[in-house]
Amino acid sequence: MNNINGPLKVGIGGGIGTGKTSLTEALCRHLSNRISMAVISNDIYTTEDAEYLMRAQVLPMERIKGVETGGCPHTAIREDCSINLLAVDEMKNKFPDLELILIESGGDNLAATFSPELVDLTIYMIDVAQGADIPRKKAPAIKKSDLLVVNKVDLAPHVDVNIDQMEEDVKEARNGLPYVFGEMKNNNGIEKISDFLISQGGI
């Protein structure tokens, strides 16, 4: 059956190594048996992330597309998202019943935003090991994303991060917008994130 509204497009942004691909992998495992979905994975210089997802067999190979962005990962999701728009069209043509496309960015700083032309919802990821001061920087990615995910909570004691204080800072920076603390590798928090996608994204 064709999906007349088109698929929900969700952007996943975050610094390199914060766990974007782990989140993508976990969401695929969690949702792909229920809904028709695809992944577009942006990567700098390589398509390693897309290949990782293929090897992990979280989705059939033809539902994963790698996009190489050269040296400008933000440009490709923000002010000139043409190569990603083409990838979205390709996926929509291949799978007319598509309900969800996850668009993973190639690694961002805190100024990153997704073009409203490319995605309907944005998830931004930070991780505890980046340091407790990240939420206090209050940049657009922290303040404006639809959902903020704080990953690798289990590492807090090893990197001298007071998780309660960090949660206070996140709460203040988000000013009422939702956030999730979790561990993508251990599936902790995935339920909340997919509930958010289902309720906010209407899938």
């Binding site: 923000r78 002010e79 998202c81 100024a111 997704f114 073009s115 209050k138």
Partner: protein, 226 residues
């Protein structure tokens, strides 16, 4: 022997060989990859966007039209033209900055432009001069027509700020391009009605832009320099 049209063209082309094509020069100077750091300035827009005063394409269009017709771009037009005809007004240009950071923007972009001219274009320009002053002097040096200079200057200035909005609001690239097209006509309209402006007409009445540029100086989290 009588010269044909083709002979004349060959003579002109030979003479022109020593002169670089002005349109190619302008394309380089006003490209977003020209390293004067123009991407780093939001001209008060960041403060307005963060304060929820600018949210969409129509807000951006209104702001930029006011900047062009009543704000510092109107002054820049007069300054560029005056320097082009030989007026030595660098101090006046610097004194017209409406806030501390606008002053820094003028000087820093001037310094970057002057360094590139010296390092790569074999042109030495006067120290501690504003961007507008430098670029007008350089245009004269390279035989660039004022009409071409001013159009490239205004269009690239506006495009640059549209790009700030595309990134920071954020706004779609489609809306960004609709605005760029709109400003081709707006700039022509501005030029048609401004050709008689001289130095005695400098002044602005774009208060929201000036006030938010000053507010921007004290934002607690900033992406842009102004």
């Amino acid at each position: 022997m009588e010269l044909t049209v083709w002979d004349v063209l060959i003579v002109i082309n030979t003479k022109m060989k020593k002169i670089k094509d002005p349109l190619q020069i302008l394309q380089i100077w006003f490209s977003s990859s020209f390293p004067v750091g123009s991407y780093a300035y939001s001209h008060g827009l960041e403060a307005l966007i963060d304060g929820n005063k600018i949210k969409n394409k129509d807000d951006v269009r209104e702001y930029l039209e006011a900047l062009l017709f009543y704000g510092s771009l109107r002054n820049d037009y007069i300054f560029l033209k005056s320097v082009y005809v030989g007026e030595e007004i660098n101090d006046l240009i610097l004194a017209s900055a409406s806030s501390k950071e606008r002053h820094i923007e003028m000087i820093d972009m001037g310094n970057s432009f002057r360094k590139i001219m010296k390092d790569s274009w074999e042109l030495v320009l006067e120290e501690n001069t504003s961007f507008v002053y430098c670029i007008s002097k350089a245009a004269l040096h390279f035989n660039i027509k004022f009409d071409d200079l001013i159009k490239f200057y205004l269009q690239s200035y506006i495009s640059n700020l549209i790009n700030v909005c595309v990134k920071h609001i954020p706004m779609s690239q489609k809306d960004g391009q609709i605005l760029n097209v709109n400003f081709i006509d707006q700039i022509q309209k501005f030029l048609d009605q401004s050709y008689q402006l001289t130095l005695k007409d400098i002044g602005t009445s774009f208060f929201i832009g000036d006030i938010f540029a000053i507010k921007h100086e004290n934002l607690d989290s900033r992406i842009y320099l102004t």
